[in-house]
Amino acid sequence: MSRYRIGIDVGGTFTDLVAVDDDGRITATKALSTPADQSIGVLDGLDRLSESLGLDRAALLAATDRIVHGTTVATNALLEGKGARVGLLTTEGHRDIIEMREGLKDDRYALRQPAPEPLVPRRLRLPVRERVRADGSEGVALGRRSLQTALATLREAGVEAVAVCYLHSYRAPSHERATGAAIARALPDAYVSLSCDVFPQIKEYERVCTTVVNAYVGPALDRYLNRLVSRLAEAGYVGPLLIMQSHGGLAPVADAVRLAAGAVLSGPAGGVAAMRHAARLLHHGDLIGFDMGGTSTDMSLVVDGEASVSTDRRVAGQRVALHSLDIASIGAGGGSIAHVDAGGVLHVGPRSAGAEPGPACYGRGGEEATVTDANLVLGFLDAEGFLGGRHRLDVAAATRAVDAIAGRLRIDRMAAAEGIHRIVNTRMAEGIRLVSVRRGVDPRRFALLSFGGAAGAHVTDVARQLDLTRVIVPTLAPMFSAWGMLASNLRYELTRTHIGDASRIDGAGLDAVFREMEAQGRARLAEAAFDGPVRCRRSADMRYGEQIFEVEVPLDGVDWSGADPMRAVADAFHERHEALYTYSLRDQEAVLVNARLAVVGVLPDPPAEPPRPARPDAPHRALRPIYLGRWIDVPVHDLDALAPGQRVEGPAIVESQTTTVVLRTGDRAHTTALGWLDIEVGAR
């Protein structure tokens, strides 16, 4: 009997499951998500998956080597403000770091705006008498009495989690460790989050915020994952359960719970992991992911096969400084509402009709025109066959909504529908342009990878606006994330702050720091019962003397046993700086701030999917009028019915169960051996 590995991606509405067998055959299914306890939806999904495979659930689980899971539990706790009641212990005199927010506020001209509530209110941020100095020496000893007083207050307040962040603990963690031990004694049930474990790096704002987020989402993630582990155990699964991390790697449950803040982008990370895998399969290393959903659109970059990573994420307004895949989100999607402002200018979003009432055409009471309504009026969507016919769309309601916009603009209905469509495409294109400018790349050499239910109707026009010539729509698009997780590796990231001028740091000393981190990382892989190949990647955060932002410099090419490894480190930094910022300053001191190590336990890639058998081209299913400046009858194809290599020329519609791809005049598409749609975009 075949062995399986299963990817499970729990989203807001659906839980997607993908199983890959020894021959690379892919079976996908979905179940409704169960937000109150996501593990119920997961088990339902496993039932369906086993049905699709003609097995019973116990048999499937017995034949499963690995389950990889992306969860939104941590994300939702943040987004919905339903995380744990957290107490924070800080160095005396520095209790307000999270509320001072480095003096920053967004939205420069919005002065009538209430300040955000910090995750921990001031009354639960308690000072402890202690101080470590900048050089790591003890300025003030840990005051046991002030610690006991603080813990008594937190016990009385009934906190579920305690975060601890003292100044300079990245350098000398002993006060935090002693505090952790005291918490374990005084509040044995509390989830403990020490900044020296969560984020042992200089810069207290980043460190305290990340440590607090960890404490805030930790208890919920802990409860959920333990429930899931026991449900799976009851169902007969004894293999490993690996959790998708924001940085794109996997962690076993125990580690995922310890570093809960590392899971706040667990869901979207699967999509980027899938892009990385897709880049390998397509032999096209430069991809822009375009994941357009109902209320927002996620955009991410894969450059030369590697996903770009960022350390300046905010999730639900909260700073999480851990490495995470760089996913930019703009607040516009299929449900975004069109409106005309007092100046007579049309806008789309940021308000969204959400799932309830949804776009006017859902017929659930929505009256305002959304992007989906415009697409329906333009004929891009099939009123009868939307989402595989599960949901009929109300054309009359969509038309009424679009007419209201047309009336305000004094233009005709079709111009208004086309306008809504164009404005949202402009926002997407500008969003992608900004993401690529920020990464210092020219988007034109990239292919746009389209996934997410709403993407297909927009992707070819967005590509045109950016002068991109290639768009790819994978067949698995809706279950892309679950699939991508199966191509991810175990990964631990370790950091040591090690400040010094590169010319004065001893290369052997730095090498020793890296070796110690490697030993630590390997030990954790061993704890997770991993015995496969291990890859270690060293890097350093560096800056020039007077700068305050560091640049992460990969140190793969450095010969540590060579004559002058620090010279090589400095050179690597100058080159990286030049690549990113167009210049370097070789006569300036290069300061090394953090030594970083990624320890990767390499899991075998899923077996390659067998190519689809050749067969004659499929005829189009129907003709449908769509509006592209004028009404044109265009052929409608089913993506799944197209033969490998079959060509489709625009204008045309290619429909799958979950998305509708609009090919415009001049677009030429063909299907790949795996059945993906590969579109050559026509000129503007």
């Binding site: 005199g93 520095h94 209790r95 307000d96 509320e99 001072m100 927010r101 480095e102 003096g103 920053l104 506020k105 939205d107 420069r108 001209y109 919005a110 002065l111 009538r112 705006q113 209430p114 300040a115 209110p121 001031r122 100095r133 900048a134 100044l167 300079h168 200089i202 810069k203 207290e204 704002y205 402002d341 007092a342 100046g343 007579g344 200018v345 049309l346 603009l409 004094r410 233009i411 111009a415 208004a416 086309e418 306008g419 164009r422 404005i423 926002r427 500008e430 342009r433 900004l434 400018v437 920020r438 400040i499 007077e546 700068q547 305050i548 932002f549 910022y581 167009t582 210049y583 300053l585």
Partner: protein, 552 residues
Amino acid sequence: MVDPITVSVVQHRLGAIVEEMGEAMLRTSYSQILNSSRDFSTGICYPDGRLVAQAEHVPIHVGALPWAAKAVHDYFGATIRPGDVYLLNDPYRGGNHIPDLTAFVPVFDGDRLAFWSINRSHQSDIGGATHGAYNPMATEIWQEGIRIPPLKLHDQGRLREDVYDTIVLNVRHPRDFRGDLAAMIGSARVGERRLRALLAELGSERAEAAIAAVLDGAERQARAVIAEWPDGEYVGVAHLDDDGHGYHDIPIHARVTKRGSDLTVDLSESHPQVIGFVNSSYPNMRSAVAMALAYLIDPDTPKNDGTFRPLQVIAKEGTVVWAREGAPVTLATNHCAQEILEAIMRALEPACPERVMAGWGRRFRIAIQGKDPRTGRAFIWHMFHARPGGGASSAGDGWPSAGEWQAAGGIKFGSVEVAEVRFPLHFRRHELRPGSGGDGRHRGGPGCELELVLETAEPAVANTAGDGVKYPSCGMHGGLDGKPHTYTLRSRGRRPRKLLTKEAGIELRPGDVLHVLSAGGGGWGDPAERDPAARERDRADGFVLDDAEGGR
């Protein structure tokens, strides 16, 4: 006539272009004040200076660019060619204050000058008597830095090296200056490239018509807001503490007349110009008035020429808001810009109480120069920590430590840990200052308390620049004022001394403690109307002092 959809697309596109110019600047600039504190603006103007679009970086830069673009255009007129780059900083020739240098790249449509693509950036140094241009002792502009009138730096793609060298020679950190200037020009060229693409895509006529319609749309939005307020004449007065040279309680007087959807702001009854650097240049004054309108209308309304069309400004040369050529003006982007803003807000309080916000803190900066005993090297530290609180508004309490009114949360203070590693300074305390936010239905945001210990081996020297130890952040609509700044120097064997806001050459000895209490924001609305639950929260959180009952 252009269709409304094209207008919407063009409006989004213009916003994205100035934003992309800003991203390019952030990525390539060298100085901390630019890449971290983001003290720069990017914008697009018509040849005659009218503002087409501006990125949302520094509010006090809004509405200032037109004067600069106009000055360059007036000076060079028909000689402007593709490939040229122009510079300017002189406050008496289109600039607002000396450290803000502006670079202009002309955007041609065929052989017609269609736009200016502009980058304005605050330089970390611009020459003059003190490092960084803030010179409280200055009594004339020549003591503040090098004055650059409209000047051609690149002639049809060729750098004029003699001109370039003249400027570079006059600043203290030539390498940083060169790097930042290259970044500014690069950023303006990004705008040029994208504007030309827009013109090519739509054709000149349609692009121009669409842009004109975008400006008209912004005008309609601004007018729709103003029209809601009752007609009438409104008067507001705000005060500067002093100018550091003998003038005290300097009034800024705003008489605001509102008719229909038009506003006239008359500042001509303001105090005559003074000796110190709180005087404003004309463009900076116009910018401050524009900033007031930008804060009052809806925040998403684009800021362009149309937005400010409802506004007429009357002022008198020789007053503190419009100094005669030669007076020092460097502090004016903070003070008196904030007092111009405050006077207008105070005036319009009865007209639109839901829109005016209470006062945000004033700036009070310190720079310390000394030697780091750990490295033996000289250092200069500029205090961005201990920011004052934001003002409350109809929407809620003020933002804690969000800084000054003219930057509104746009300036970041760095990490305490990093500062301690890099400078011989020890931050014994750096947290919010209880009781500093003005009471009200919505409470002002608290300022900060900083206890900073100087850990040098030898004496160091400090300069201050700012205002607001006497005049606090004003309350609005019945809300109370916040607490003003109090900065105290504690030195062993000496009596504690309150620092003045405009002092140079303060001697600091090893072990001295600077005790900074920065201003809280003003409160909004009657304190009696404050939600008891909010009051209870304030007490539990220690944001009010024990004797603060009853709104004191």
